[in-house]
Symmetry: C2
Subunit: 227 residues, 2 copies
């Protein structure tokens, strides 16, 4: 199956939490069709209704809800925003639906209760785990691990860069384009092995937030020309 490079519809798997709603909000604002997916159709519809309150009538037409598999089948690009404990199972159950698609994996391999200690998955990173599980028919991209998703639901500029990993330059370019559509600065951070840096940094940020009494600690690349 060939990869479709023109992306107009995005499925957000497990998109009823604040991560999914935050990304959906930003992408709808950027003109993409977004389908919020859930295992439960009713939950998806509730999330759509909540988000609709922040959208114009025109924008609301771009937003819908569906069961995860159906959402993925209607999209060119899917986004995975579920807790790590469900990572393998949900990917396995959607493997056929994801064939021929891009998948942006936002997963951080946190293992409660030690969420501020970095956990390196056996495969090297959660994103590599996804790529190995899905096989070559799906192009896995990793991004957005260090964003406080609550911030995405505001229209303010977010002071946090996004590291984008993927198996090849084309995958990373698609990923960067999708990040820039949310208003954030994206960096090509290399192959999926490198995703452990962004995934692991979330544990460090959790720790820094706790120490500093903050909620939205992020990262920024310095000493480089910025957008």
């Amino acid at each position: 199956m060939s990869i479709e490079t023109e992306i107009n519809t995005i499925a957000i798997i497990g998109g009823t939490g604040k991560e999914g709603k935050g990304l959906a909000y930003r992408w709808v604002k950027a003109g993409y069709k977004v389908i919020i997916g859930s295992r439960n159709m009713e939950k998806a519809q509730i999330a759509v209704a909540e988000l609709a309150e922040k959208l114009t009538d025109q924008e609301q037409k771009l937003l819908s809800g569906d069961e995860n598999g159906a959402a993925v089948r209607q999209s060119q690009l899917a986004v995975l925003t579920v807790p790590y404990q469900f990572h393998k199972d949900i990917l396995s159950s959607l493997k056929n639906d994801l064939a021929g698609k891009y998948l942006i994996d936002v997963t951080v391999p946190l293992v409660p209760p030690k969420v501020s200690t970095v956990q390196v998955p056996e495969e090297g990173s959660a994103a590599l785990q996804a790529q190995m599980l899905l096989g070559e028919e799906t192009t896995v991209i990793s991004a957005f691990q260090n964003i406080s998703f609550g911030l995405l639901l505001s229209d303010e500029k977010i002071e946090c860069d996004v590291l984008v990993c993927g198996k090849n330059v084309e995958a990373r370019e698609i990923g960067q384009k999708m990040v820039r559509a949310t208003g954030l600065t994206a960096w090509d951070a290399g192959p999926l092995e490198n995703s452990i840096v962004a995934e692991g940094f979330t544990s460090v940020l959790i720790r820094i937030n706790k120490q500093a009494g903050t909620k939205n600690a992020g990262i920024q690349i310095t000493n480089v020309p910025r957008d």
Copy 2:
């Protein structure tokens, strides 16, 4: 052997490169005695002479050179700045000298030629590798992996934060104190497992420098109160 918490003398193992000289410069400026160590006494003396040109007469009295083992024995805290390929060997050869001391490990597990791909050591991080090799008698701290060391030889403010890892709060506090003495902002980044984030980030920065045509890309924590 008990750990001495009052640090006045720092040994820089393999300190004749720009990493070692940059750190030596900053610490001498901050009033610490610094011994540049090398396998070769003559090389240590050459590095001292080079650095002395940038120091006042008074500051020069704080700087000396010695063979690595002798340098470590005269210090309370040693710093390791050698390429990863020598990491295990040099630590093994200095194990007895390092007992009862702090060791700041600056090592990044780069494996040429793929220096922009993250390599996770079997132990989880280069810093954990050092701690396992040296045993409990040495307190390993990791820091400074993301700094362009050439910048340390200037007196300019450096826009790059330092993540400090160590096995306990006391180790991380010592590490942060030593980082702040160089004029940089330090963050408690947690246990030595977390060091892979800072170690791996160097590969990402190498890649970003290549793409952006820059040399000193760094990282900064955002959305937190700063020094």
